[in-house]
Each structure stands twice: as C-alpha cells, then as structure tokens.
Symmetry: C2
Subunit: 278 residues, 2 copies
C-alpha cells in the first residue's frame, strides 16, 4: 500500500473530510490585502493553508499558475510546499506524460526535486508514458479519466469499437496497471450521474474529483458517489470558490486575518457537508 | 498565416533541411568535456546550437529535462533560449493541456514569459483545453497525434465506433480547429507506413516528426512522406543520436571544439539525406 494513500485515508477517516484545496493562485485575482507583501502569492498560499489546514486532506498546486510567472512563480511553488504540514497530501497538478525516458524526468522533477506526494498525468500516450510515475510505490499517480470540461466530449467520451467510451478504457487499464495500490483517476464531479458507475467499476482506485464549486457540480453527490466501500480513497477539489471570496466580500477585508476567517468559514461549510454525508 | 510557420517554411526551402534538434539535455549524459564548466548544461546547449545552427530549422527543448533539476534547470532553459538565432524556431516540448483557464496560464508561460515560438500539447481533454494555445495566431501549436512509443497502442490506436483509430479523430479535429494556420501535429516516424496516409489526410497541418535515430525510424521516409505539397511544413526531430556521441568517440574529445566538430559532422550527414530527398 502506497504510504501516501495510507496517510490520506487515515486523515479522511479521522476528519470525515475529503477536502482537497486547489492552490490555483493567480496573482491577478488575489484579494487586495495581499498586494502589500513583497511576495503576494506566497503570502496568499500561506494564508489559505493556515485557514484550511485543520480540514484539508490535500493541497493541489496547479503548476500552470506558477509556471506562468516563470522562475519567480516556481520559487513560490517550492516555498509553498515547505508550509504544508506533513500530514496533508501534496499534489502537483501537472498533467504531464511523454515517452518513457522523458516521463522519468518529470517523475524526478515532481517526486524528487520538488517532493510532492502525488501528481496528475495524462493518459494519451499509454502505459510506457505512465510507468515511470507508477514506479514510485509510495506516491499516488492520478491519471486523467473523465474531466469536468466541455471538451471531454471530443475524445474522452467517444465510443470505442471494443465497447464503451475511451475514458472507460482508461479506467480499466489504469486499474490493471496499478500493482502498488498507488494509482488514482481524475473524475469530474460535473458528470455526477457517471461518477457512481465509474466508482463501481474501479472500486480500488483513489479518486480525485474536481468540478465542484466554480464548475458547478454537486458536493453532496460527489462525496457520496466518490468514496470507496470504506468511505475513503477520494478527495474533492475546491479551488476558485474557496480561495477567492466574492469581490463584495474581499473589499471589506482590513487585513490578512479577515481573509483567513472568511476562507476558514467557507472551508468549514464544505467540511460540514462532507461530515454529514460521510 | 502564423508568422512562426512562415519563418520555418522559408528556412526549410532555403536550406533544404527539416532538422529539428532536440535539446533533451541530461546532465548525466553530457560528454566529460562539459563537466569542468560551472554550468555544464548551458555550455552543452550552446555548443549544440553553435554546431547545428547553420542547418537547424528548429530547436526543441524538452521541459522535463529542465524541470528535473528544478529552478536551476529552468534557468538553463531560459538562458538557452537567448542563444538561439531568431531565424530558427524554438519549441517548448511541454505536452501540456488542462481546462481552459489553466491552459491559458500554460500558454502565458511558454508563449509570453518564456518566448517560445511553438509548443507541444496533449489532446485528451479536447477543444477547450487547446483553444487558449490556438489563440496565439502567430505561434505554432503541435498536438500529439500518433506518437513513436509502444504505448501508442493503448489508446491512440484504439478504433472508434465512428470509424478509424483515435489518432485519426484527433487529426481531423485539429485540422478543423485550425483557423489561423497555426496548428500542427506530432506524428512518430516509427510508424512510417502511416505517416504518408496521415499527411494525405491533413495536407495543411505542420508536422513535427520524432522517432528518427535512437527510436529507430527511417530518415529518408520521414522526409519524403512528412512534407506537404510544397516540400515544406514538416520538421524531423533528432535528439539523442545527434547530441550524445557514442562513448568511445566522446572519450577522445580534448575540448568543447572536438565535441562541436563531431556534432556538426553528424548534423551535416542528416542534412545531406534531407537535401537529397527534398
């Protein structure tokens, strides 16, 4: 059993939470109270972590938001990792994958150089593009399966001659490739009618469920349908709707403390729903 | 017409070359003559650029090899870009793509912050995950189509109920999404029997063809089958077999000059084949 998976599941059961906080930290969307700092994104991330640390199972850092600012952004990503408690899973939301010798380098980047617990990867290039990630037995590797965007209809939902849509083939193959219990899938909550079916078909994979909140999926359904038989092995990502309070609220903040209180209150609401359903 | 595409095609016709040099610069594989430098990877890249600059149409920087060393590696990537002549296309071989607001950040990273001419992207998540890249009219966006690895059989080559393999569906959709003549596809040369068919089906896309050299595809066929009707709009990536001379050769180098002569000779051989076929 992957030690990261084990860590996450123990915390899920202890807290009755599936909350994954998405640190899609966009310098253009930060509340004004952070702009006085030399390093607004890092201060913002530290505030989000302080405000949600007691209910979060995972923090997911979307690499695009850091890469968009180049080395300064990646330095923020690197420093943010040092502020996340060891008990909480860290996910590099990187959507990487390439031929084997290249994927090996990506795995080195996100599992060794930057010590993330988990990564998201893209399945298009098949097994040998994912195997270098799976080789890290103690980590968790989330393979894109059915995503929460409109474009999922273009390829993911196309029916294969062998039966069923492409994403089902991805699901089945990922389950068969997972020998170390360190495989997961990304399944969007906007397709909640499908989430239950997918869970039944892959009872032992770990689920990362985006698409709640800004993208419109139902939280209750995502919790209920996403977990495994032990009411574990799933996390639900909330990002924009949690970390960016509405503008009319944000303008009232007189300092970082106010921001943290607002985010903590929102996180607590989400946690309440999760506790109730779990 | 994308100005990057135009720039590449003018150079292809002028030089009768399709050479794309892959800067998959692995610190563990550098010839010993570079190890005395404070910054071996950057010196190595500069040498490769000096040795191939008169015949190269493009330099492709594989982001994994830079990210594997974290910020130090990305600084090398950034500095390498400044040493590439303006007349040669620069490609971020990044294989990125995510939901729209995230892909927009990736596009900012590789088209604005780091001023690459082109990028490779993964199609799994569909149109809205690629559109933010296509929005840069003057750039080139290479979408993974049929790759050169074994894992291409897992999903890319799976037959769709609507007819034909998944990669053909990607090909057709990318062609239909390309309104600014700034779309390309990645088609592996290891499947040369298919390369001609794919070119006939997509006469107006720009082709990035990996898989020649270390991966075993035939160079002559890749040139002949990959180009469009104007004998343009294709580049063939060569990386390991060009930039890493065999160990028995590399041990004879007494300095960087020897390395550059060896790489220039190898590049010239490749160029000769390309000239002959074009």
């Amino acid at each position: 059993m992957s030690s990261v998976r084990d860590k996450a599941n123990r915390r899920i059961s202890a807290l009755k939470s599936l909350l994954c906080v998405g640190l899609d930290s966009d310098v253009d969307k930060l509340p004004a109270v952070f702009l006085k700092y030399e390093n607004p994104v890092l201060e913002f991330n530290r505030s989000v972590i302080r405000a949600t640390g007691d209910v979060a199972i995972a923090y997911k850092l979307n690499t695009a938001f850091y890469e968009a600012r180049g080395i300064a952004g990646l330095r923020d990503m690197e420093k943010t990792l040092t502020h996340i408690p060891d008990s909480v899973m860290t996910i590099a939301d990187a959507k990487r994958a390439d031929i084997g010798n290249t994927s090996k380098k990506y795995a080195q980047a996100f599992f060794e150089h930057w010590p993330f617990d988990a990564i998201t990867v893209a399945p298009y290039m098949g097994f040998d593009s994912l195997e270098p990630f799976f080789a890290y037995k103690d980590k968790l590797v989330f393979v894109l399966c059915l995503t929460s965007n409109e474009g999922s209809a273009d390829f993911e939902e196309q029916t294969l001659e062998s039966g069923g849509p492409l994403y089902r083939s991805v699901l089945g193959k990922v389950a068969s490739w997972s020998r170390n219990d360190n495989a997961g899938v990304v399944v969007g909550a906007t397709k909640s009618t499908l989430l239950g079916d997918i869970r039944r078909e892959a009872p032992s994979l770990f689920f990362l469920i985006p698409g709640v909140g800004a993208q419109g999926g139902s939280l209750e359904e995502a919790v209920d349908l996403g977990v495994d038989r032990n009411r574990q092995s799933a996390i639900i990502n909330v990002s924009r709707s949690l970390i960016y309070p509405p503008a009319e609220v944000a303008t009232l903040f007189s300092g970082v403390d106010d921001y943290e209180r607002a985010v903590a209150a929102e996180a607590s609401k989400i946690h309440d729903v999760m506790q109730r359903v779990l």
